[in-house]
Symmetry: C2
Subunit: 305 residues, 2 copies
């Protein structure tokens, strides 16, 4: 009844060797940059330029500066870089355009794109040292930024900075299905397409376990108390840099107190209703999240539990 | 044979209501701040001042400014705050002093301390906007910083900033035991006490799942290929802001290629050797990590698998 579906959520399954040891080794990094097989991803702003099921690539420009690029990794066909375009600006965009493009890409190419997007966007929005305010420059092959390497623009004199090293953010987010008596809780945010319901979600805060964050979110957003939180799977989500951590939890009862500032509606749905939604049936009680989202796969995990 | 041990790792099990809805509501936040039962944690720099099994507390000073405090949560005895001391400076310290103090605290108090420490340390090291370099000020009851609310020091004129909102970091870290043929892989870092071995660990990078990060770390640090990564448990680790994600994975073979820049030694140990180490036996093959660390509990998880 369920059509053929992706085995894993989107952005999962990258195949490049991330070559961590090359990032901090100037000699090996220079070799990778000079490798005649080296390619750079072609992007339109933060969106991928697609070539069949792959991201289009090009040779590195003749006059390219290594510090303007991030080394995404090394594959069978050579090193792969992404350009840190200074014209990108600092505005993080949610970029709905990528939703149409992403399903065209093979899983490993979508994963590569997700990595590139998170890193490029992080560089664009982290040009200054959070500790002292001085401009920072990319370091470690684009996997860090170092304070004090930059110069202030215009007539201002060079500033040395504090030397702090900053690393890209990865923000853990819990996304969860609470279950009670054979049904699971789904909710919708105002920005969702009409009819769409999905798993509830929220950022893990300092001082919490994953399980504590799941319980807090369900209490805050739906007023339910849960126990027995089970980890299901994870997914990188590059909008801009989330690590989605998907769980199922058991609710003590099914009385809801919805926080309308977070979600506009929530309801309990049965296994059959979830199956119909995942299959995209016309009469389904709700519209399921897209296969690219981990929520889609979390529903399948729960059906299989 | 194993002595009585803590049921959960350190920093797990906070009991305060984090009162998320109070943080963004100026009226409710002012009420919490004016509550005559409100207390602030007493700290010595970043270390806790201990009163029995609890962190010592005091009433809020008469002249206290709400924006200098973070609302940690609301308990049965009223709101609990921590002071964002501008004298703290920006140097993150690993603070070995806390190792001696932490075991004195009850689990919920240690969890409260971990939350406070991560937040205070984050504020101290994030006084400037990473997007534009302007000073930032605490917002949302200390759970964010807003760009543009601050003034430049000395004779410089007020600067408006870009208005960006910044949230505390939570950095996901995988910590893992690879198992092969009834043994698990342990390693030691040069900074460990003599004889100590523990699980290997590393940060999750942009574009990776938890499972992919586990596999990459074991490949990078020990040269082994793993499959079937199983999530075990998680722990907040406030040095400064890690979310430890503990897993067990199955190694295809036991040949090691150790990356000496990361670990100085690694070896496979049997179940009996792990049991002896956890029990602190004199003849144990290695010294186990402390009970406060999630690695200790990951060993127990593996023994129970």
């Amino acid at each position: 009844m369920i059509a053929a579906t992706a085995a894993v959520p989107g952005f999962v399954g990258g195949t490049l060797d991330r070559a961590d040891q090359v990032r901090s080794d100037p000699v090996r990094l220079a070799e990778a940059f000079a490798d005649r097989r080296a390619r750079m991803l072609l992007l339109d702003g933060l969106d991928p330029v697609v070539d069949g099921a792959a991201i289009a690539t090009a040779s590195l420009p003749e006059d390219a500066e290594p510090t303007d690029f991030v080394l995404l990794g090394i594959g069978a066909a050579g090193p792969v870089f992404a350009y840190l375009d200074p014209a990108l600006g600092t505005a993080a965009t949610y970029a709905p355009k990528v939703w149409a493009i992403a399903p065209l890409l093979s899983p490993d190419q979508l994963a590569l794109y997700g990595t590139a997007r998170s890193l490029i966007d992080w560089h664009a929005r982290h040009g200054f040292c959070a500790r002292c305010g001085t401009p920072t420059v990319p370091s470690k092959a684009g996997w860090a930024r170092r304070c004090g390497g930059g110069t202030l623009s215009g007539s201002e004199s060079e500033q040395r900075g504090c030397g702090a090293e900053h690393f890209p953010r990865v923000d853990p987010v819990t996304i969860m299905l609470a279950e009670h008596d054979g049904r699971v809780l789904v909710g919708r945010q105002p920005r969702f397409p009409a009819g769409r319901y999905s798993a509830l979600a929220g950022f893990v805060e300092p001082g919490e376990t994953i399980e504590e964050a799941v319980a807090r979110e369900l209490w805050e957003e739906a007023g339910i108390v849960v126990e027995n939180v089970r980890y299901a799977m994870s997914q990188p989500w590059p909008f801009p840099s989330s690590l989605m951590i998907a769980c199922v939890a058991t609710a003590r009862d099914d009385a809801l107190t919805i926080d309308m500032t977070e979600i506009e509606d929530a309801m309990w749905v049965t296994r059959d209703e979830v199956r119909a939604a995942l299959a995209g049936e016309a009469g389904a009680r709700f519209l399921a999240p897209p296969e690219m989202a981990v929520a889609y796969h979390l529903f399948r995990f729960w059906l299989g539990e």
